[in-house]
Subunit: 149 residues, 2 copies
DNA sequence: TATTGTTATACTCTATAACTATA
DNA sequence: TATAGTTATAGAGTATAACAATA
């Protein structure tokens, strides 16, 4: 012991004292789960926001960048580089709706990406649910929905 | 209509088509909840990582920066600016354990910050739980724990 | 007058590689 | 040889302000 006043750190791993805090657990769970999905999406060269945008554009054929941003909670200004990248990748196109607004539409290549994307999302979501003990499983979605909807 | 082929965007707000996906709900809930807590912590001039570090250091009196990083899932390299800021704010000190390791200890000012911090965390966590319908409430923590522990 | 798309900018968080020194 | 602390750096995500043009 060198300082005398302070005990040595101890060899073993430190226990996490916050595991009983729902807010903390929510952050850790979201980080772990989104990191997992991000890794899966690398196979398609997509990011989380890319994937959600592609899926949204399929659902709603005619959407403007501003509308997408409002739904996905992405600032209007931050939609620009996102769309630039997806357009550069040939997955979406900006089609003028009038002289002010642009519709974001899927290209043929964008449509083709949706099949493997659907598969990845389905595997990810089912894997997520599978990790939750059965008695808690059906409560997760309504509990989460209450926190942001 | 200018293009003919594409329908106008529609006046009302767009529905979010992903509300039934647990992974998506998890991300949205975590973002909303953490944004809320971040706002509350502004009153103490603390960030999320600052707060969790202060609380951890109180629980475990003798911890090194590396140990803190392992518990809180913060890279060793990213601990440095975090600790620099907390030390500059006079909330923690780096105390040599030996010639290699540093113990992170609370200063008197750091200890004083813990009282209002505890209050903010308690209000935040109870408010979070209060928003969840009673029948789902007790299931949230075990469900989340299964996703990252 | 409100909204769209855009530019510019900045801050936070996160991730990696590499270096020195010590256990 | 493994670990601690550090530096430097880069990539994401996010936030605000401001602008021109159009609904």
């Amino acid at each position: 012991m060198t300082t005398g006043k302070i005990a040595p750190p101890g060899a073993g791993a430190l226990a996490d004292p916050f595991t009983d805090l729902p807010g903390y657990a929510l952050r850790r769970a979201a980080n772990a789960v989104m990191s997992d999905l991000t890794t899966r999406l690398v196979a398609l060269n997509l990011r989380l926001s890319d994937a959600s945008l592609l899926l949204l554009v399929r659902e709603r054929q005619t959407v403007t960048a501003s509308q997408i941003g409002r739904v996905l909670d992405i600032q209007r200004a931050n939609m620009v580089p996102l769309l630039n990248r997806l357009e550069a990748a040939g997955l979406v196109e900006r089609v003028p709706l009038d002289r002010k607004s642009l519709a974001i539409v899927l290209t043929a290549a964008g449509l083709q990406q949706l099949a493997p994307l659907d598969r990845i999302i389905a595997e990810f979501e089912s894997g997520l649910l599978a990790r939750i003990p059965a008695e808690h499983r059906d409560h997760l979605l309504p509990a989460l929905a209450a926190l942001w909807r």
